[in-house]
Every structure is written in C-alpha cells, then in structure tokens.
Symmetry: C2
Subunit: 207 residues, 2 copies
DNA sequence: GTTAGCATGTAAGGAGTTACATGATTTT
DNA sequence: AAAATCATGTAACTCCTTACATGCTAAC
C-alpha cells in the first residue's frame, strides 16, 4: 500500500532524535548534557528525552561513523593517566553531514508527525525551500484530516458524548483550526521565496 | 522524592488503556472491535490503540479476574462442536467493578497526563465530584506549569530561535491559555455541584 | 462463489523511561 | 569539606506498533 520504500535506515540514523542530534551538532560541537538542553528548547518543555535515550543514541551515531568524539584535554600539560570521561564533545563527521543532508531532504510522513514536524521546523534554516513547502503542505493536510475526523466524530456522537469530552474535543478542534491558519500563512510566505529563487517554480509542467 | 507509592498495579490493571476498557465495559458488555471504536471516540481520532495492544490487554484483564467472557451461542439449537471464536463479548466481574472504582478514585499524575486526562474526563459521569475537582485542578496546574516553562523558554531563546519554531511555540502557548480557561470554568461548575451535594464541603472527616 | 468488511489473535521488535551507579566541577 | 549541580552511562522494563495469520458474515 505504502509508496514509501520503508525508509527507516537500517544501518544508521533513522528516528526523530537522530535528526535532532545531527541538526544541533551541525551548528556547533556539543556534549550530551548541552544537547539535551537545546533539545528541550526546540521541542518545547513538553517533550524532552531522557539521558537513557540520549547517550545510547550518541553512541549509536558514533559507531555508525556519523559523529566523532573530541576527548577534551583542557590543560595541555595534564597527561591523562586516568582516562577522563567527563564532557565528551561530539562533532559531525563528513558522513554525518551527508546523512543530515539526506534527512533534511526527506519530506515523508515522519516530517508531518507531531514530533518530527517540530524538529524539522527548527532545522528549516538548513532546509531547501522546496522541501520546506512539501513539509508544511504535508503537515497541513494531516491536520485538516484530523480536524475532519474529529468534526465527524463530534456530530456522530453528539447525543452520546456531549457531556465533558465534547468540550475537550471542541478545544482540540479550535487548536487545529489555528494551526492550519498559521500553516497557510507560512506556506504563502515560503511560496514567495520559492518563486523568487526559482521563477519557473513548477515541480511539474505549466503552459 | 515521589510521594506516590509506585502505584502501577503489579498484579493487574494499571495503565490508561485498562481504565478505558473497564470504564467502557461498565456501560455495557462489548467485544474487542466495538471497544476499539468507542475508544477512538473518547480519545479523539488522534490517538487510538492497535489491536496488538487491545486484545492482549483484554486477555490480561480476563486472567486477572476483572473481566469475564461471554461466548455467544446465538442459535440455541446449534451445538458448538467446533469452538467458535468470533465475537467474544466481555463483561465486568465484581472484582472488575471494584478495580474500576479504585482507578476512578485515583487523582494522581496519571490522571493529569494528556492521555489519562481524556479518559478520566470521559468517565466523569462515574466519578465522584470531589475526585473530579482534584483531577481538574491537577490538570490545570500541570498546564500552567508547562505554559510558564514555555514562556520562559521563549523569552530566553528569543534571539536564538525566533524564526520558525517561535511561531509554533506561540501557538502552543495560546492553546494552553484556552485550555486553562476552559478548566477554570469546569472547576467553577463542579465546585457548585460539590457545594450542593456536600454543604460542609470538607474532604476530610465529617460526622 | 467471491469479494469486502467484521472480528480475533500472535510474534518480533522499536522507542523510550526509570532506576540505578558513578564521576567531575562549582559553590557555599 | 560538604552540598549542589553538571555530566555520563547501563540494565531492566513498559508500552505500543507492525506485520502477519486466520476465520466469520454479509452483500453482490
């Protein structure tokens, strides 16, 4: 059924977390603790990741050759007889940059999901305008779909539910409406940029 | 640190799904497929559960003695030589009703979480007014906490983020505001009921 | 009589948390 | 020098999804 070729990368980086980590490290080398803070900033304080997810992910990315560790020897005189563990700084390798570019170019379902969208949005400065548009469009469609589903459910169950739950669903409905409006604005904005950068602008034919 | 005695029930029903199932079956006996539909209605079309979660959960609840199966022999003449599997209807046992009552009386962190709150709200008609108030209060506090966290993050990162992500966070902030307002209304409403039903209004001892 | 939709189930695995364990640095 | 905070890491576990496999029932 799915037209997607099952894109969850086998050998290496796949999930939302991986994209976020690679994206943040493209700005500047960082260590795990710092990454978690920045992660919290772009995801909002709602959704963060525990260290139990973060550190294994970093190790996985390192072993996949996408990250390199910089063991800090802050004082050049200080010979590290005991192998110091603290403050392991990670940076992108060339392979990591390639992988990041691939992930940034992806505008599949993952990029429309609640989590994936937030991360992709935070990385829009590094994303091609055409890809931005596809992601925003995908997100808009997904939200409108949910909104219609919820509307339908609300009218279907109007007599059955209508007590407390109905209020919550109304709130959700309004939230969808507002996000859709915001998306339309963003899409219009990006569309402008797209046309400026690419005056022929059609991905397909136009007379 | 936590004052909660690690309440995730060892022997039997614990999670949000279990509460939802027991609550729905308190209305009427149902089979799995039906339960999934009703589940989708109360959770909104956003979050549903796959059959891979649903059926194992039902089996678990049954083996814990909280549910009993009603094997349907629709035609009384038809002796079921081959054990018919289709349309297994579940109903609450007395133990199940007890467990449901316990879960409904719980106003802990789980009942304030995004998922748990929706389910508890749908079961408010079966919930004591005092418990309703505690759940609504807990939810309100959690949301206000998130809102403040987000506000703080927004002003802290104003210069760093302020591109695309800031817009998304602004939307989230507004959504929090609206839900908090709605909660305040509900709390006022329930407070009325509470005072009518219990004029002395103390949650602690009263002759 | 065959397709479509209703209905039930299992095995494997992904994604993340909690709880634990430890070390380093800064502040008081 | 004690306390707080920064920082890293692992093992066990929870919860849920995906993909698969199967059977029943109604409609065409």
């Amino acid at each position: 059924m799915s037209t997607q070729p099952r894109a969850t990368g086998r050998g290496s980086a796949s999930g939302v977390l991986d994209l976020a980590l690679l994206g943040l490290l493209a700005d500047a080398p960082m260590h795990g603790y710092q990454l978690r803070v920045r992660l919290g900033e772009i995801l909002g304080p709602v959704r963060s990741y525990s260290y139990g997810s973060l550190y294994p992910a970093l190790r996985r990315l390192e072993q996949a050759g996408l990250l390199a560790v910089q063991q800090p020897l802050r004082d050049p005189d200080e010979v590290p007889l005991a192998p110091r563990r603290s403050r392991v700084t990670y940076q992108l390798t060339p392979a990591g940059k390639e992988r990041l570019a691939d992930l940034l170019a992806d505008a599949g379902p993952q990029s429309w999901s609640d989590e994936g969208f937030g991360v992709h949005l935070a990385l829009f400065p590094r994303t091609a305008v055409q890809t931005r548009l596809r992601i925003l469009e995908g997100r808009r469609q997904r939200l409108e779909q949910r909104r219609e589903g919820l509307r339908a459910a609300l009218s279907r169950t109007a007599q059955r539910v209508d007590d407390y739950t109905a209020g919550l669903h109304q709130l959700a409905l309004q939230a969808y409406d507002r996000e859709v409006l915001w998306l339309r604005e963003l899409i219009a904005q990006e569309g402008q940029k797209g046309r400026v950068l690419d005056p022929q602008h059609g991905p397909t034919a136009r007379p």
